[in-house]
């Protein structure tokens, strides 16, 4: 046992090793990525570890291992659960023989997500238990508990931390690493693993019959706590329980919920001892609905009557505000403060020297009137350059582009998708677009890695999660085998060639693919690639600001002159953009 100051995801990764995990896979997604990234650092781990190409594939891989008696963990972010939802919904019927944990990390406030959905609903939908920790120690401890529950009930178990657990730190008490290792062994049992209707009807009945036992066991495990301290009460779940413990006065009762399904009898007993109850949970009113069902004549405050929002992230201030609004405390103890106004915003931005910027620049220049569907990745930041018109979910750039084109829209439709996203769910869209006669340009922004979530390798990188070399995929051959006849590969730092290639594909018909390939600038910097920086000749600069509009963070503009700062990575594209030739490589000093 040792105490360490750890990131939530690192504590969870350690807990997997304490639980003796045998098989780990997932797809990177903020805030879940560092769990596998931490496990990747383990030398001779003794378990299988992989980055799979999407969450459904990861889920099915892990399920196979759990059907062989292993302890398997699959990680993803909340929207990844949508991709994995198909096997998830049936895996609760088949159940598992080994331990199976689905770690689904939710992102209230959508810090880096396309929506704010609540994975607890999926757990309830599938009929599996869900552990919903209120902090890092609980998230750590939940992993071993989840494997034990999974093995006891023969069911997948969801662990659902949120961003403020995954990406916060605490002093955590860690346990000893487990020495136990299992070797998978599959026992044929078609009645369990083959979900033809005759089997699945029985399996569904069995899943329903497991529920009372799960509720009883969760109660025995003390996931949910209740403390009677007065006539009024607060019930909170997930990280909101931590905020409630910090803020709720001592004469108000407090119940905390850290696992689902909730024991209705236990909840009814707690509710019946109070007159007024405030329910605090982020996102969906899962606890609140149960409380309202358990209540008779108690006054309930929560989302449904406007005391708390359905969206965004809570904090101790949110809890204090709600306590004051329903009269549990006299006034909000926190000062109302105003942030400074009219400051220049500093949003995340594509890096200096990022290959995507020049590709977007060329795309916009050649397809002036074009429509630009895009996808999920660093390149979604191309929005700031006016180069991203749609983003809906992983893999949807090509399908949305195809839909827009086939709707009769006459303008050019040029979509962008990253290499990892293309492999995630882009490929079927490409096949569909070609086969159904779409007339679109697909630009694959190929930086050879899954950059946005922290540089996880994919089959395009030539390296597995554990660092083993593996033959990199040929995107060119893949696209051709999908039926694409025009496949052009171009270096995005070569602006002249990039523009020529764009013009060439613009003149064509059908699905045309441009692969814009250059390693992610952060990766190439780490690998020691050094390029000479660029500079602006002040006397030649005519203050036209074309380079400033290019949007590179290495270009500044002071006192009517452009200049290049220390962030310059030497990609040289700005030199090609400058109409006066005022930007050139620095001379070695």
């Amino acid at each position: 046992m040792k105490r360490r100051y750890l990131l939530g995801n690192m504590a969870i990764a350690h807990a997997c090793r304490e639980a003796g995990v045998d098989f780990v896979c997932g797809y990177p997604g903020t805030p879940s990525s560092e769990i596998i990234d931490t496990l990747r650092q383990v030398q001779n781990p003794g378990f299988h570890l992989e980055w799979s190409i999407n969450e459904k594939i990861a889920y099915e891989n892990a399920l196979g291992a759990a059907w062989c008696g292993c302890r398997a963990l699959v990680t993803m972010k909340h929207v990844g659960v949508n991709v994995a939802a198909d096997p998830l919904m049936t895996s609760s019927y088949t159940g598992v023989t080994g331990g199976f944990v689905l770690l689904a990390a939710d992102d209230p406030f959508a810090h880096s997500s396309q929506n704010e959905q609540d994975s607890r609903i999926y757990a309830s939908f599938a009929g599996i238990p869900c552990i919903d920790p209120s902090g890092i120690q609980e998230a750590h401890d939940a992993i071993t508990d989840a494997f034990e529950l999974s093995e006891e009930f023969g069911l997948p178990v969801m662990v659902r931390p949120t961003t403020r657990i995954c990406h916060s730190k605490a002093d955590v008490l860690l346990g000893e690493l487990s020495e136990t290792r299992r070797t998978g062994s599959f026992t044929k049992n078609p009645k369990q693993y083959v979900v033809i209707p005759a089997h699945t009807r029985i399996l569904h009945r069995e899943l329903i019959e497991k529920q009372p036992g799960i509720i009883k066991r969760l109660g025995e495990c003390n996931f949910n706590t209740a403390e009677i301290r007065g006539e009024k009460a607060v019930i909170a779940g997930g990280i909101s329980a931590a905020y409630a413990r910090e803020t709720v006065p001592e004469d108000i009762s407090l119940a905390t919920i850290a696992a689902y399904p909730i024991d209705e009898e236990w909840l009814s007993d707690f509710v019946s001892r109070h007159t007024e109850i405030l329910v605090i949970e982020e996102m969906m009113p899962v606890i609140e609905s149960a409380v309202r069902e358990a209540a008779s004549n108690q006054k309930i405050y929560g989302k449904k009557n406007g005391y708390l929002p359905y969206d965004g992230e809570f904090s101790p201030a949110t809890v204090a505000k709600a306590l004051a609004a329903c009269g549990f405390i006299e006034e909000n103890p926190y000062l109302a403060v105003q942030p400074a106004e009219n400051l220049p915003i500093r949003p995340p931005i594509m890096c200096a020297g990022c290959m995507h910027r020049s590709t977007f620049f060329a795309m916009k220049k050649v397809f002036k009137d074009g429509i630009f569907p895009s996808d999920i990745g660093c390149y979604t930041l191309g929005l700031q350059l006016g180069a991203v018109d749609t983003t809906i979910c992983m893999g949807a750039a090509i399908t949305v582009a195809s839909g827009i084109n086939l709707s009769g829209e006459s303008r050019d439709v040029v979509c962008t998708i990253g290499d990892s996203t293309f492999l995630h769910t882009g490929v079927p869209g490409l096949i569909n677009a070609v086969y159904n006669g779409s007339d679109i340009v697909v630009i694959i922004l190929d930086n050879r890695i899954t950059a946005m979530t922290g540089h996880q390798p994919n089959p395009n990188t030539g390296q597995t999660a554990c660092g083993t070399q593996s033959p990199p995929l040929s995107l060119e051959a893949l696209c051709r085998s999908c039926g694409v006849s025009v496949v052009e590969t171009v270096d995005p730092y070569d602006l002249t060639n990039l523009l020529e290639t764009m013009k060439k594909v613009k003149a064509g018909r059908g699905v045309r693919v441009v692969i814009a390939r250059q390693p992610c600038v952060i990766v190439s910097k780490r690998e020691g690639v050094k390029r000479r920086r660029y500079m602006v000749e002040e006397e030649t600069c005519t203050s036209c600001r074309l380079c400033v509009r290019y949007g590179c963070p290495a270009i500044e503009y002071h006192e009517e002159k452009a200049s290049v700062n220390d962030l310059c990575m030497g990609c040289g594209v700005c030199a090609d953009i400058c109409p006066e030739g005022a930007i050139r490589q620095e001379v070695k000093r």
Partner: protein
């Protein structure tokens, strides 16, 4: 209410806010104090505005409520302005004199702020501006500016200097320990309580 000491560390993705917060966390472990921290990951790392919240003696959640922080450490002048409202009235703010303007400053129609403009905006008894980059450069590497600033702020942090120094040793790359120790001590020497 949190009985501990809440610190906000703010800056730009890539400046070392997370490393600085790790030093504080390690120092808490050394002194056997509980600690909670929240930090910015993912998309916001790409040159965006970032914040680390550290609650020394924290036992509940990791978030600091605006208007309640006991200390603000800012690696950039503009970010100090952006997060100043987190500070409890009358508490200290230690700010690096560096200013990196975001690209938006050059593409928007607003007047471009200068370091002098922002220094004026920040002036007050709670504010101390330190050239941490210069201190770190003199100590051996401008990359140690985060540790130099932490050294300058250390007078206001309720942790022993030796614990903080040990935290530095544990958190920085092995071959840069000497430079970072020097940067911390030089930063500390610049300010006197």
């Amino acid at each position: 209410m949190n009985p501990g000491f809440d610190i906000m560390i703010v800056g730009i993705g890539g400046q070392g806010t997370i490393l600085a917060s790790n030093v504080l966390g390690e120092a808490c472990l050394i002194e056997g104090r509980s600690v909670r921290g929240a930090e910015t990951h993912g998309m916001a790392q790409r040159g965006g505005s970032v914040e680390s919240q550290i609650r020394i003696g924290g036992i509940h959640g990791p978030l600091i409520v605006p208007g309640t922080a006991d200390l603000l450490i800012a690696f950039d002048l503009l970010e100090a302005v952006r997060y100043r409202h987190f500070l409890k009235p009358g508490r200290k703010m230690i700010v690096n004199s560096q200013l990196v303007l975001p690209t938006s400053a050059f593409t928007s129609e607003q007047a471009i702020l200068t370091a002098a403009d922002i220094t004026d905006m920040l002036s007050g008894p709670e504010t101390t501006i330190v050239d941490a980059t210069a201190i770190a450069t003199a100590a051996g590497s401008p990359l140690a500016a985060n540790i130099a600033l932490l050294g300058a702020a250390s007078h206001a942090i309720p942790l022993d200097t030796e614990s903080l120094l040990e935290g530095v040793r544990r958190c920085v790359p092995q071959k840069t320990i000497a430079i970072n120790e020097q940067a911390f001590l030089d930063g500390r020497a610049v300010l006197q309580p």
